[in-house]
């Protein structure tokens, strides 16, 4: 017995409302972040991640209120990503009750931001999100590149080198999303997750492509991830977190009940 592998539901928030049709039974307001967070907490979610997808900067302040409201009622770790570009963004989210922030694009454009953030706030609250796509051709050794803008823009940066560099800069955890798998429901890119997890000494969260509960277990057993993140399979009410943990436990993975 010892440290449990974590299951992290991810919620997309637009102007203070959860989007992508969360579909719980008997929920009064399917867009209310507090109510949804409470449901996941009751089901045994180990952490929650909120991704702010608000396009207009005016509405960004609403995310702070969302975090405050959730942190006042749900006592598990909260991570906030999306639009974290400045030290002030981090300070506001942590003060609102977030435990970690996830930095993505801003890290690519200004890697020193990760260094500054981890030195100031501590590595424990700095997650670096890496969106990667396989760029090697059939027959070549596997190679992945970091992409931005939802997988549309290549950066020319090797994903494994980038992961190591971000850890050197103080990232306390890496959120690795396969842009090839995201939305496909075919499972994580296991070689990608495993290669990064074996290359660094901080926890890795696998993300992108979950379609079945077996995929979550695969992420831990074959992808060597310390945590698995999923959105749609939980949101649409197909599966509960508890069912996911049962599948993982049946395959010998330690989980928190």
């Amino acid at each position: 017995m010892g440290l449990a592998k974590r299951i992290i539901p991810c919620l997309d928030v637009d102007a203070g409302r959860v989007v992508k049709g969360v579909n719980f039974v008997n929920i009064r307001d399917a867009g209310d972040p507090v109510e949804i967070a409470r449901r996941y907490d009751e089901q045994g979610a180990d952490e929650l991640t909120f991704l702010d997808i608000t396009a207009s900067s005016d509405a960004r302040d609403t995310m702070v209120h969302v975090v405050e409201a959730v942190a006042g009622e749900v006592f598990i770790p909260l991570t906030v990503g999306g639009g974290i570009r400045k030290m002030e963004d981090i300070r506001r989210m942590l003060n609102a009750g977030a435990d970690k922030v996830s930095i993505n694009t801003a890290a690519v454009f200004n890697p020193e931001f990760v260094q500054e953030a981890s030195q100031h706030f501590g590595s424990q609250c700095i997650v670096v999100a890496i969106d990667a796509k396989q760029v090697s051709l059939a027959g070549e050794p596997l190679r992945w590149e970091v992409f931005t803008h939802g997988g549309r823009k290549p950066t020319g940066i090797d994903a494994i080198d980038w992961a190591k560099r971000m850890v050197d800069y103080g990232a306390g955890e890496l959120l690795v999303t396969s842009m090839d798998r995201d939305g496909t429901r075919q499972g994580f890119d296991l070689p990608l997750t495993r290669t990064i997890s074996e290359a660094v000494n901080v926890p890795v969260i696998a993300s992108g492509g979950v379609g079945t509960l077996e995929h979550l277990a695969d992420g831990v057993l074959e992808g060597k991830a310390e945590a698995v993140l999923a959105a749609s399979i939980f949101h649409f009410g197909e599966f509960t977190i508890r069912q996911a943990k049962q599948v993982m436990a049946d395959r010998g993975i330690e989980v928190r009940w």
Partner: protein, 213 residues
């Protein structure tokens, strides 16, 4: 009205701790975030959460006058240390090139040795030790009331406390081949490595126990 004061030295995320305490506090409790040393000294109970690097933390505690508040409170009122709020209570930490602590407990704060291997699977364990791990009480303490053995709490840390006097160890947690001290207690002081404010039911129970202690 009784007050519990959370020590604010300008670094930690105190929102979570204060919200969790408010959540479990009876009406006769007032939860305050304390920046003024003289007011904190008047509180009935003290919570000292810490985050970040220990060198920076000790420097700020001295600059803000909180070091004196802590030293004083350690000797005379119910005191709950969280995370770095536990580590700073020892004599010395290996972190930040070597940092002197409050020496409430004789001992050293050590970094997890690498590589740290899982004794069963042989796989390499990550540092920081991050996530939900089990805590085993070594003796019955009022703060463990209603918390089953092996309950999981949320941890995030790369260093652990190694006190000289093993009788101070109130709880242990396994990581790799280590059984590290995840809680220390003596007299009016209880300090834990994990984050009860982020540990759902078990954590809230511990915080409630602290207010009732």
């Amino acid at each position: 009205m009784k007050t519990v004061s959370i020590i604010d030295y300008g670094m930690s995320n105190l929102h979570s701790v204060s919200k969790a305490l408010e959540h479990v506090a009876e009406k006769n409790w007032q939860v305050t975030i304390g920046q003024d040393p003289s007011r904190i000294l008047q509180a009935d109970k003290i919570v000292f959460p810490g985050q970040g690097a220990i060198g920076n933390c000790m420097t700020l505690l001295h600059q803000t006058g909180m070091a004196e508040v802590i030293r004083h409170s350690l000797s005379n009122k119910p005191f709950l240390g969280l995370c770095l709020g536990l580590q700073t209570l020892l004599t010395f930490s290996e972190e930040s090139g070597g940092t002197k602590g409050f020496d409430w407990a004789t001992g050293t704060v050590r970094r997890f040795e690498e590589p740290l291997l899982d004794p069963h699977s042989g796989e390499r364990l990550k540092i920081p030790h991050m996530g939900w791990n089990q805590v085993y009480a070594t003796w019955p303490h009022p703060l463990w009331k209603g918390i089953p053995q092996g309950s999981r709490f949320y941890f995030v840390h790369s260093y652990y406390v190694d006190p000289q006097d093993s009788q101070m160890i109130a709880g242990t947690t396994p990581y790799g081949n280590l059984q590290f001290a995840s809680a220390l207690a003596r007299d009016n002081v209880f300090a834990v490595q994990f984050h009860p404010e982020k540990s759902q039911q078990a954590g809230l129970t511990l915080l409630k126990n602290f207010l009732e202690w």
